[in-house]
C-alpha cells in the first residue's frame, strides 16, 4: 500500500489520574476511509485531539507525508491540511450559519470580507448536503443535528489532505447520513483520507475500508473491514462477547387503552415550534417519536416538560389539567426530560460526576434539604455500575469524561429522580453498542415497571424496537400515530415519515 499519508506511532497521553493513550500506533493512507473504533472512553477523541494539537503529546511521533510534524494547535493542523469535526459540536452559536462555515477563511477582497459571496457559497455548500437553511440566521436557532451538519459542511469545504470526523452522525437521521456518505465517497475519490468515528456498526461496514480498534487507551488491532465480522469487532472492542440485542426484539406490542393516562396533550402547541397536537402517554407505555431532522420532535417533548411554554391547548396529568410553569413544575408531577444537547442544556461541566448526577434530585428537594452524602454515594455508585460509566471515580469533573460517558451521566441524573414520565431525547447519542443495549434494556425494564416513556431517537430501528406506539412528525406537525404492531416495520415507518400519512 506504500507509505502512509499520516502515521502516528507510540502515542501516549496522560491526564491526571488517567492514561488515555498508551503506545498507540495509527496509520492512514491516501484515499481510504478509516474507522477508529472503541468503547466509550477508549481514547478515540483523545487520539484525534493529540493529532491536531489540542493536547500536547507525552510520547510518540507523528508524521504527515513522511515528514515529522507536531502541531501546537488546531490552527496549524488546519493549515497543514487536516480538517476536523470534533465530537462535541464546536461552533459559535452566536454567529450566523454562513459565518460558522467560513470563519477563519472568509472570502475577502483587499482584506474586506465579502459577505455576499460568503452567503452564496454557504448556501451552495449546504445544498450539497441537501440542507436548505437561512444562512444569515444565528446558528443557535437551529437544532443540534443541523449544527452537526453545519460543522460537517465547514470541514468538507476545506482543501484538506485528511478529514477527521469524530462521531458526525450521532444525531443524524438516515437520510442525512446517506448524504454525508455520498460526499465522503466523493472526497475519497479525490484522494482525501478520512478518519471516521461512529458507534453505528452498520455505518462502519457501509463506508469504511479499514479500521483501528482501541481499548482502554491501547491499540487492539488494525484490520480491513472486510476481514472481520460485526461480532468479532464487538468482542475486540469490549473484550468479551455480547448477546443482548436479540432479547429485546419483541418487547411490548401490548395495548395500553386500559392503562391510566399519565399525560395527555389536548391541542397543545406553540407558535413557531409545534402545531397543536393531541397525544396521550399511558402508564407503562413507551411512545416513540419519529420524524425527519427538524420535524419538531424535540420541541414537542419540551412542551411536556415546560421547558418551553405552550401557547395553546392544555396539558392533563393524571387527567387533571395543569399549567406547566417550567421544568420545576413538571418535576413536581414526576416528569423528567433528558435533553439531546448535553453540552449546553445538560451538564454543568466543572462540577463532578457525582454532583451532576444528583443535581435534578437535589433541585427537586430544594436547597434546604440536602441529600445525605451517604445516600448520594450509594445512588451514584449504583448508576455508575449500571451504566458502566468510565472512569468510575465519581469525584472527577464531568468535563474530563469522554462524550459517551457524559451522556450516561446525564441519563443517570434523570433515572435517579424515579419519574413517572421520562422524556428521553436522543439518549443513546454517542453511546457505544454495549451501553446502548444496556440503556435499551433499562427502558424496557422501566416501562414494564410502570414508567411512561417518551422516546426520541434519530435511529429508527431503536424507536421501532422500544416503542409501543410511534408518533410521526412532519414539518412541526404530529401527522399520525402508529400502533407498533407487526404490520409496522422500518420501511413502513420510513414511508410514513416521508409521505406524512
Amino acid at each position: 500500500m506504500g507509505t502512509a499519508l499520516l502515521s502516528m506511532s507510540g502515542i501516549s497521553k496522560q491526564f491526571p489520574g488517567v492514561k488515555a493513550l498508551e503506545g498507540v500506533d495509527f496509520r492512514l493512507y491516501q484515499g481510504e476511509i478509516h474507522a477508529l473504533m472503541g468503547e466509550n472512553g477508549a481514547g478515540k477523541s483523545t487520539l484525534i485531539k493529540v493529532l491536531t494539537g489540542v493536547y500536547d503529546i507525552d510520547e510518540g511521533e507523528i508524521a504527515l507525508d513522511g515528514r515529522p510534524v507536531r502541531f501546537a494547535g488546531p490552527q496549524q493542523a488546519t493549515e497543514a491540511g487536516i480538517s476536523t469535526v470534533y465530537q462535541e459540536v464546536n461552533l459559535c452559536t452566536n454567529l450566523s450559519v454562513a459565518e460558522n462555515i467560513f470563519i477563519g477563511r472568509e472570502p475577502t477582497k483587499f482584506g474586506r470580507i465579502q459577505w455576499g459571496v460568503m452567503r452564496r457559497r454557504a448556501t451552495e455548500l449546504l445544498q450539497r448536503l441537501e440542507l436548505d437553511l437561512d444562512v444569515t440566521a444565528q446558528l443557535s436557532t437551529y437544532s443540534l443535528a443541523v449544527q452537526q451538519l453545519v460543522a460537517i459542511a465547514r470541514a468538507i469545504d476545506v482543501d484538506a489532505k485528511v478529514l477527521v470526523l469524530d462521531e458526525p452522525t450521532s444525531s443524524l437521521d438516515a437520510g442525512e447520513v446517506a448524504q454525508l456518505f455520498r460526499i465522503m465517497r466523493q472526497l475519497k475519490a479525490q484522494g482525501i483520507a478520512i478518519v471516521f468515528v461512529s458507534h453505528f456498526l452498520d455505518q462502519i461496514y457501509e463506508i469504511c475500508d479499514r479500521m483501528t480498534i482501541l481499548r482502554n487507551g491501547r491499540l487492539v488491532g488494525e484490520h480491513l473491514v472486510a476481514d472481520i465480522s460485526q461480532l468479532q469487532l464487538v468482542s475486540l472492542m469490549i473484550g468479551k462477547e455480547l448477546a443482548l440485542l436479540e432479547r429485546l426484539e419483541d418487547a411490548g406490542k401490548r395495548s395500553f387503552d386500559a392503562a391510566p393516562a399519565v399525560a395527555q396533550a389536548h391541542d397543545l402547541g406553540r407558535t413557531g415550534a409545534v402545531e397543536p397536537f393531541n397525544l396521550t402517554i399511558h402508564k407503562g407505555e413507551v411512545v416513540g417519536l419519529a420524524g425527519l431532522l427538524g420535524s419538531g420532535r424535540t420541541e414537542l417533548a419540551r412542551l411536556f416538560f415546560g421547558a418551553d411554554k405552550a401557547d395553546s391547548g392544555r396539558l392533563e396529568i393524571d387527567g387533571i389539567p395543569v399549567t406547566m410553569h417550567g421544568p420545576r413544575a413538571a418535576m413536581n408531577h414526576d416528569i423528567a426530560y433528558c435533553s439531546e444537547n448535553r453540552k449546553t442544556e445538560g451538564l454543568v461541566e466543572e462540577l463532578s460526576v457525582r454532583e451532576n448526577i444528583i443535581l435534578a434530585l437535589q433541585a427537586a428537594r430544594g436547597w434546604t434539604r440536602p441529600l445525605p452524602r451517604r445516600r448520594q454515594d450509594e445512588l451514584v455508585q449504583k448508576y455508575i455500575d449500571a451504566l458502566n460509566i468510565n472512569p468510575k471515580d465519581p469525584e472527577l469533573p464531568v468535563r474530563n469524561l469522554s462524550g459517551g460517558n457524559q451522556q450516561k451521566v446525564l441519563l443517570a441524573r434523570w433515572l435517579i429522580t424515579e419519574p413517572r414520565l421520562l422524556i428521553l431525547d436522543e439518549p443513546t447519542r454517542g453511546i457505544d453498542i454495549g451501553a446502548k443495549a444496556e440503556i435499551q434494556r433499562l427502558v424496557v425494564e422501566l416501562s414494564d415497571g410502570g414508567m411512561a416513556v417518551l422516546f426520541i431517537s434519530a435511529e429508527l430501528e431503536e424507536v421501532l424496537r422500544l416503542s409501543h406506539r410511534i408518533g410521526v412528525l412532519r414539518d412541526r406537525r404530529l401527522v399520525t400515530q402508529l400502533e407498533n404492531t407487526d404490520a409496522v416495520d422500518l420501511d413502513r415507518l420510513t414511508e410514513t415519515i416521508a409521505s406524512g400519512t
Binding site: 416538560f305 417550567g326 454543568v348 461541566e349 462540577l351 443535581l359 433541585a363 436547597w367 434539604r369
Partner: protein
C-alpha cells in the same frame, strides 16, 4: 533517600493545592515586614486585649473579608456586585445618624436598634439588586452600577454630606472593641464566614449556586429555580456589606458618606479572584476569598511598614498582583517547571506526577 523523596512528595502534594501559592505569597509579605520592623510578629497583651501588627492586619481584613464573602457567592452565580461600597456607606451612615440622635449614645438598646435598622436597610438594598438581576433580567454589572451611583448619593443624603461623629461605646465595640482579648470585628467576620460556609456546604445551596453559575440553562432544565438563588446571594452580599459598613464606621466612631467603602468593591473582587474563584462563575472557595482579603490587607500594611512612598505604592501593588496571579496560574508554573529539569532525565518529573496523583 527515601525520607527525602517522601518529604518531596508531600511538598509537591501541598503545592498542588489551589491555595498553596497565595499562601506562600502571604508568608513572603509577612516576612518582608520583619526586615523593616523587628517586632512585627510580636503580639502582646495590652489593656486586656491582644495588640500587635498581626492583630492590626486581621482587624483591617475583617470588613474587606466580609464584603468579599458576599461577593464570592454573587460571583459564583456568574454575577457581580458593584454596589457593596455604597451599601457600606449607607449602613454606617444610617446607624450613626440614629445613634447621634439618641439622648444617651451609650444605651445598648438604642445602639442595637440602630444597628438592626441599618442591617435591615442593607438587606433591602440587596433585595433591590437581586430583583433587578433575577426578575427584571438586567446584566448584573449594570444593575448594581445603579445602586453604586445612587447609593453613594443616598449615604450622603443621610449624613447631609457631613461626617457624623458619635461617641457611643457600645457601637464602638463592633469595629474597635475586643471580646476575650480578641478583636470583636474579627470574631464577627470569622463567625459570619463560618456560618455561611456551613450553610453553603452543609445544605445544597453551594452546589446549586455553582450549578447556576456553571451553566444556567442546564440548571434550569434540571429544575433549579435560579431566580430565588440569585436573589438570596445578592441579599447576602448586601447584608455582608452592611455589617462591614458598621465595622468601618464604628472603627472611627463616625460615618463618612463620601468615603466609607470607596473602591472596596474592587478590593473585594480582587480578593475573590486571588482566592481562586473564577469571575465567570461556577466553583467558588470561601476559604480562598478570606485568604485573598488577608493578603490584600497585608499588602497595604506592608506598604506602610516598609515606608514605600505614596508615589510608587501603585507600582509596587502592580508588581505584587502580577506575581500573585502568575504564581497561581498553572500555565505559568508549567512553563517554568518544564524548563527546569536538567537534560539527561526528561522522564523523571513526569514519573513523579504519576506517583502523587
Amino acid at each position: 533517600m527515601a525520607a527525602i523523596t517522601e518529604t518531596r512528595l508531600s511538598i509537591t502534594r501541598a503545592a498542588r493545592h489551589r491555595l498553596f501559592w497565595p499562601a506562600v505569597i502571604l508568608v513572603i509579605l509577612l516576612v518582608t515586614n520583619v526586615f523593616f520592623s523587628g517586632s512585627f510578629f510580636k503580639v502582646e497583651f495590652r489593656d486586656g486585649h491582644l495588640y500587635g501588627s498581626v492583630i492590626d492586619i486581621l482587624r483591617a481584613s475583617a470588613p474587606l473579608g466580609l464584603v468579599a464573602l458576599g461577593m464570592t457567592l454573587v460571583i459564583a452565580t456568574g454575577g457581580i456586585d458593584l454596589s457593596v461600597g455604597a451599601v457600606v456607606a449607607i449602613a454606617g451612615a444610617l446607624a450613626c445618624l440614629r445613634i447621634s440622635g439618641l439622648d444617651d449614645q451609650n444605651s445598648v438598646t438604642g445602639v442595637l436598634l440602630a444597628v438592626g435598622l441599618a442591617l435591615l436597610l442593607s438587606l433591602a438594598l440587596g433585595v433591590w439588586n437581586g430583583f433587578l438581576v433575577a426578575t427584571v433580567g438586567i446584566q448584573p454589572i449594570i444593575a448594581t452600577l445603579i445602586l453604586m451611583v445612587a447609593g453613594r448619593g443616598l449615604a450622603q443624603l443621610i449624613t447631609d454630606g457631613q461626617i457624623i461623629t458619635i461617641n457611643s461605646s457600645p457601637y464602638k465595640m463592633i469595629g474597635a472593641g475586643y471580646w476575650l482579648g480578641l478583636p470583636l470585628c474579627v470574631i464577627i467576620a470569622v463567625g459570619v464566614a463560618v456560618v455561611a460556609g456551613l450553610i453553603v456546604r452543609r445544605s445544597a445551596l453551594g452546589l446549586l449556586l455553582e450549578s447556576v453559575g456553571g451553566n444556567a440553562e442546564a440548571s434550569r432544565l434540571a429544575g433549579i429555580k435560579s431566580r430565588w438563588l440569585i436573589l438570596i446571594v445578592y441579599v447576602f452580599a448586601g447584608l455582608c456589606a452592611g455589617i462591614a459598613g458598621l465595622m468601618i464606621s464604628s472603627n472611627v466612631s463616625s460615618a463618612d458618606g463620601n468615603n466609607a467603602g470607596l473602591l472596596i468593591e474592587l478590593d473585594a473582587i480582587l480578593a475573590v479572584v486571588i482566592g481562586g474563584t473564577s469571575l465567570s462563575g461556577g466553583r467558588f472557595s470561601i476559604a480562598g476569598t478570606i485568604l485573598g482579603a488577608v493578603i490584600i490587607k497585608t499588602l497595604d500594611i506592608t506598604i506602610y511598614t516598609v515606608g514605600i512612598p505614596p508615589e510608587v505604592t501603585l507600582l509596587f501593588k502592580a508588581v505584587v498582583v502580577v506575581v500573585l496571579c502568575l504564581a497561581q496560574a498553572p500555565k505559568f508554573r508549567e512553563k517554568f517547571q518544564r524548563r527546569r529539569p536538567s537534560a539527561p532525565a526528561p522522564q523523571a518529573p513526569q514519573q513523579k506526577v504519576e506517583v502523587t496523583a
